[in-house]
Symmetry: C2
Subunit: 443 residues, 2 copies
């Protein structure tokens, strides 16, 4: 780009004073920053000004578009199927992508799923997949379209060449207290997803203690902003607000979440995971052009019940270098050396099973990362035995803890112990699967 | 310092969210940043959060104190006279420090005046002094106290070893749009002044188009904040709010401002400069312990009328390596090759003579700096011939422009031409010296 006449100090000043910046100026910032011609210290001051003063929808459209074009953009025009992806804002026990992608692929849709790693209390799809022996989350770019056409699904990490601006800006935000900003979160997510050359996108915006957005109001603002970015870009987006006050399913970890995902593909698994997976699959079919909800539901159910989705999963693992025997028999997944039972301290009904605290305990156990450099132990994790609404007797298990390192177990238990509230009045808690979906926003 | 347990991201987050930081945390930030252990990109995000959320007076006290102790602190305990300095927030044609310091010194007070260079539309005392042939604004630290004791005055640049935190933070603020913040401005000024080991400080807070603070309200907030910092530190501070809507005196430049300063020391000079100089001198005597305003006034008048102040100026120039003949005969000051008369485009009364626009024109002429790296031409400048309230005929001079470079003259005239408003109704303007002092705040 060849815009002249902008100086970063003046643009920071304009944003600081609450005035809107012209699209050209925002494109110039992204292009100059990506080219190392704007220093981090100016960018971080600018990002902090955005945290305070936000961005108009015009500004946000230009900013996201500039990020999206800061590197390569996928060209999946060779893929004849409709291309629909799903993105979650991150939760605890959220393994839905793993059963979802093969189900949707079995329905004839291409799912070019690019996922991230876990950080902080939330897990990451890539970490979970890598607990399958041999599974590679890197695909040669030239094979990506072929695999999507053949198999209908690829599950990979974000390519280094896509949206380099986001990688740099995200690292800077992480170090400068500029993460919590609706326009910055929205543009980060949407630039990466729109660079995938999609025909439609499903967003799972988590709400509750284990999510970044603690209230339905905040989550609605984020969802509306992202749907708006999609609209401006001409890509249909559906956002569902889902409950992340307690972990999804029973398994929190990596290998154990793969096992639970396989259960769902076999028609089993915990009810909340099963329900959300089916609902998400239906939404992705609707985004792909299916007009009738009942038909969509029937297609999804058939994909599971016929075993077609399970077969796609086996083929996917094989194609990406993993051992398909692990999918046929999840006992072959890595397992921890020891198990500890966390027992209920008293009898009653569970009124809180806190996703955030369980997520933090997972990091301490080694199932997640406190910093990007940490390694993840695929074998360790929790099986949650008591969730909100469950009636429990004193001494019965709240959770089973699979662990390898005793000191990490103790540290995890410290965080885990406060995660449950148990009320003696058994009428105090809602039904366990009530309020799984808290809102929906569509283009 | 050995505080542990602070992480910069958490402290940025706290400030961003509007919560107060503990004094220890603020001291830690200054100490770690000065030691290069906090990167610029974190500091700039933190500074931007301060721009938005400010600082409590407890926070500001700790922050200023930490800056003040980030390097050497002067020890002037060997100086037996009371030590009083004056600081101006910067204006156009503001040469008051130059006659003021010798007058106050002639009254038996020590004035350890550390000044800055001009930047942007405002001039700097150091640049003006350097138009005196041979004058050095650097004194060996071991001679500083001696000179103060002997002569009662030293006029030098800020020592590199004093308040290094301010130098670094100021450079960062300048590059990141984080200059306009009352706590950041206050702590920058006060940390440097309090590091001078003063018994009292006079602040000249400029208000109007040529000043950073455009309204009396803003200037009052800044003045109160700085007086508050002085109080917490145990140093009496008096702040005067003075009018900077038009330039002070006639001369705007460097050598010509020295000449005008010498006129004041000889009992002459423009009325506004003379009045402000006397008033400031009286305030400094009061800060030094003089209790009676009339006596203070008489002492100041006597210092000028007796020639004692002029003699101090001659001795000061000699002591700091300058040619005292220049003070005896200001025609020896550098002079420009050419003069241009800016003529009034019509007859009437001057209702505006804009300090900011004249300051910008001065930079273009070469009398000031657009960036720190620019050189200043000591010989060029303006003599303002028509100020607010003056009645003028078409074709009479608004200003005399002394210049060396024709292209700079043209560029300066472009900025200068819009600086005057002339109304045909001669009752439209206030008296020229009305409203010189717009407020006062005392410890």
């Amino acid at each position: 780009m060849n815009f002249t006449g902008f100086t970063m100090v003046e643009l920071i000043t304009t944003k600081r004073d609450g005035d809107a910046l012209p699209p050209d100026a925002l494109r110039w910032i992204i292009s100059e920053y990506t080219a190392d011609r704007i220093p981090d210290y100016q960018m971080s001051a600018f990002l902090m000004a955005i945290v305070f003063n936000g961005m108009s929808s015009t500004e946000l459209g230009a900013w996201t578009d500039a990020m999206l074009h800061s590197g390569d953009v996928l060209d999946l025009s060779a893929v004849t199927k409709p291309k629909i992806d799903k993105h979650s804002t991150g939760g605890v026990g959220d393994k839905i992508s793993i059963p979802l992608a093969p189900i949707v692929a079995a329905c004839g849709i291409a799912v070019p799923m690019m996922s991230g790693r876990g950080l902080g209390h939330t897990g990451g799809t890539l970490d979970k997949l890598e607990s399958i022996k041999g599974f590679s989350t890197t695909i040669d770019p030239s094979d990506f379209a072929d695999q999507l056409d053949d198999l209908g699904v690829a599950m990979v990490g974000q390519s280094e060449t896509l949206v380099p601006a986001d990688r740099r800006i995200y690292a800077l935000r992480d170090a400068t207290g500029t993460v919590p900003s609706v326009p910055l979160i929205s543009s980060s997510i949407m630039s990466k997803k729109l660079a995938e050359d999609l025909d439609g996108l499903l967003l799972d915006v988590k709400v509750g203690s284990g999510a970044f957005m603690k209230t339905v109001e905040e989550a609605t603002t984020l969802a509306e902003t992202m749907v708006g970015i999609g609209e401006r870009h001409g890509t249909p987006v559906t956002a569902l607000l889902t409950n992340m006050s307690q972990p999804l399913g029973r398994a929190v970890g990596n290998a154990n979440e793969i096992a639970e995902s396989i259960d769902v593909l076999r028609g089993g698994g915990p009810e909340d995971i099963r329900r959300l997976t089916v609902r998400f699959a239906v939404e992705m079919l609707l985004l792909a052009g299916e007009r009738d909800v009942d038909t969509a539901n029937a297609r999804v159910t058939e994909a599971i019940d016929s075993g077609a989705a399970f077969e796609v999963m086996v083929a996917l693992v094989q194609r990406q270098g993993g051992d398909p025997a692990v999918i046929e028999n999840t006992d072959l997944l890595p397992s921890a050396a020891h198990e500890h039972v966390l027992a209920a301290p008293r009898s009653g009904v569970v009124t809180r099973c806190d996703a955030y605290e369980i997520g933090v305990a997972g990091v301490r156990l080694g199932a997640g990362r406190a910093t990007k450099k940490d390694d993840v132990d695929p074998a360790v994790g929790f099986l949650i035995e008591a969730k909100v609404g469950d009636v429990i007797e004193k001494g019965e298990p709240l959770a089973l803890i699979a662990y390898n390192d005793e000191s990490k177990l103790h540290s995890a238990i410290e965080a885990l112990a406060g995660a449950w509230d148990i009320a003696s009045d058994v009428g105090a808690a809602p039904a366990p699967t009530e309020g799984l979906i808290l809102g929906e926003i569509r283009s």
